[in-house]
């Protein structure tokens, strides 16, 4: 598996549990008394129709949702969750004035630490951008930019990785390749991946949660056979995907 030497450099896998999560925008209740378990060292995919509140839930766990200060998040080892999360958005969020290498080591820069350029270079090589470290983001294609964003996420070396539809803006082929790459590089970390694509969830998730309704709740939990990344041409996956789509539509 590519990238296995990057697995868990410093941290032991840690799980996250949300108990009685509540989120409302004004009078509109997105979810209330929501319980969610994200097991340590595994990839949990959160599926749901658009607007159901899955991104809001992810942002709440990431600590970047100002509406949701009072929610209870607990880690499986009892430690603080703050500072142990890396976040990857649907948009690459690369800073246009920094080179790819400087973007990848943005975290250290923001924390006032010296960036580990060698590690950043090695990660860029892992995501296939070894020759682009000096380029500005504008010179890269959409897929390359998202790979740089993945390298930046991994550079943070956090135990918990939260991903908000990270591949949804890419074309089908690039998406499949990046799914494989991410699955390899993220193996062993605690990952919560929000997606609206059942097949993506089925390929990448040890565990798949379907979020539905208003206020939203976790309607079903699925643990497909085999280990991710599951092959895209697996007929079982397509059967399951059709079933999930039917559930989402219903």
């Amino acid at each position: 598996m590519p990238g296995s030497e990057f697995v868990m450099d410093t941290e032991v896998p840690v799980g996250v549990a949300l108990r009685g999560g509540t989120l409302a925008f004004g009078d509109k209740v997105i979810f209330e008394s929501l319980d969610l378990d994200i097991p340590a060292g595994r990839t949990t995919c959160l599926l749901g129709p658009s607007g159901v509140g899955k991104s809001s839930l992810l942002r709440m766990i990431a600590g970047i949702s100002p509406e949701a200060a009072a929610n209870r998040l607990v880690s499986s080892d009892g430690g603080a969750i703050e500072g142990r999360i890396a976040y990857m958005d649907q948009r690459d969020l690369l800073l246009p004035w920094l080179s790819v290498l400087d973007n990848v080591s943005l975290g250290a820069r923001l924390r006032g630490a010296a960036p580990d350029r060698q590690r950043a270079q090695a990660l860029l090589a892992k995501v296939g951008l070894a020759g682009e470290s000096k380029s500005l983001p504008a010179a890269l294609s959409g897929g390359m930019r998202q790979r740089a964003a993945l390298a930046r996420t991994l550079m943070e070396d956090r135990a918990i990785v939260l991903m908000d539809e990270p591949f949804s803006s890419l074309d089908a082929l690039t998406r499949l390749r990046l799914q494989d790459l991410a699955a390899g590089l993220l193996a062993g970390r605690t990952v919560l991946l929000v997606t609206h694509d059942p097949l993506e969830a089925l390929r990448l998730g040890h565990r798949i949660l379907v979020m539905r309704g208003s206020p939203a709740r976790i309607a079903s939990v699925l643990e497909p056979d085999g280990l991710p990344p599951r092959p895209a041409d697996d007929p079982n996956l397509h059967g399951l995907a059709a079933a999930i789509l039917a559930e989402l539509a219903g």
Binding site: R59, A62, G63, I64, A80, E82, G83, R84, I85, A86, Y87, D89, R91, L93, L95, P96, W97, L106, G107, R109, L110, R111, G112, L136, A138, E156
Partner: protein, 260 residues
């Protein structure tokens, strides 16, 4: 031919057409030389008075440069403090908007009264008219940071002692606002000479504005035009130098207009 050479050629051609039109106007209308001297006469006067015009031009240039430095510096500091302290913003921003509506030129006599006939009143005048466009342009940029970048920064600095907001300002908000600041600086470069010359007109003993008034009073219209010509050349040079510098410094800022 390269793009650069083409644009230089275009500039020279436009300049030549302008001079030719000027000469044609003088010949065609038979206007008196003390109303509109021809380009040849002005050039002659410029060469004859090179030392005089040069001395006054140096003073005006100094006023413009000092005014640019003070006005831009103060405007930038002001924009950053307005964006950093919400309380300052709430109190000061409405005041700034009102102050901007005051015609700064009307303050020129007061500035000369307070700061005297020397350099200070002109630098102050130029600073004042630069200060507002720089502040508003930069503040506008500082307020429009992509929220996703700030969210990302927050996850990266979470759990760190206190430094997150400052780090986000320094590494994200300010660099992201630089293109907006650049627009403010271009405006500043264009209006700084106006400030300096208006200051000189109201009361001074040196500078191109002073020289122009002085020459006008003595019917040395060719000298007046020579000073005006130098002032215009100076203003254009300052503007294009700053524009060139800003383009060099912000290569990541895409220019969406077709190449000119």
């Amino acid at each position: 031919m390269t793009n650069k050479m083409q644009s230089i050629t275009r500039g020279l051609v436009s300049f030549a057409i302008l001079i030719a039109a000027w000469q044609a106007l003088v010949w065609g209308t038979g206007v008196e030389f003390f109303i509109l001297p021809g380009p040849w006469l002005v050039l002659h006067s410029l060469i004859a008075n090179l030392e005089l015009v040069g001395r006054h031009a140096a003073i005006t240039l100094l006023e413009i440069v000092l005014g640019l430095l003070c006005g831009c510096g103060l405007g930038m500091v002001n924009a950053i403090s307005l964006s950093w302290f919400p309380k300052v913003r709430r109190w000061l921003l409405p005041l700034l908007v009102v102050a901007q509506a005051i015609p700064v030129f009307a303050l020129a006599p007061v500035l000369v009264l307070w700061l005297g006939y020397g350099l200070a009143s002109k630098v102050m005048m130029a600073s004042l008219i630069i200060f507002f466009p720089v502040t508003t342009a930069f503040l506008d940029g500082l307020r429009r940071t992509e929220p996703g970048w700030l969210d990302l920064a927050r996850t990266m600095t979470a759990g760190q002692a206190g430094s997150g907001r400052w780090a986000a300002l320094r590494h994200i908000r300010i660099p992201a606002a630089l293109p907006a600041l650049a627009s403010g600086l271009r405006v500043a470069a264009a209006v700084a000479p106006i400030g300096a010359v208006v200051g000189e007109w109201v009361g001074s003993s040196a500078g191109l504005g002073y020289l122009m008034l002085h020459a006008n009073g003595r019917m040395q219209i060719d000298l007046l035009f020579a000073a005006l010509f130098v002032l215009a050349a100076m203003a254009v040079t300052i503007f294009f130098s700053i524009d060139w510098l800003l383009r060099r410094l912000l290569p990541w800022q895409p220019d969406s207009l077709p190449n000119e």
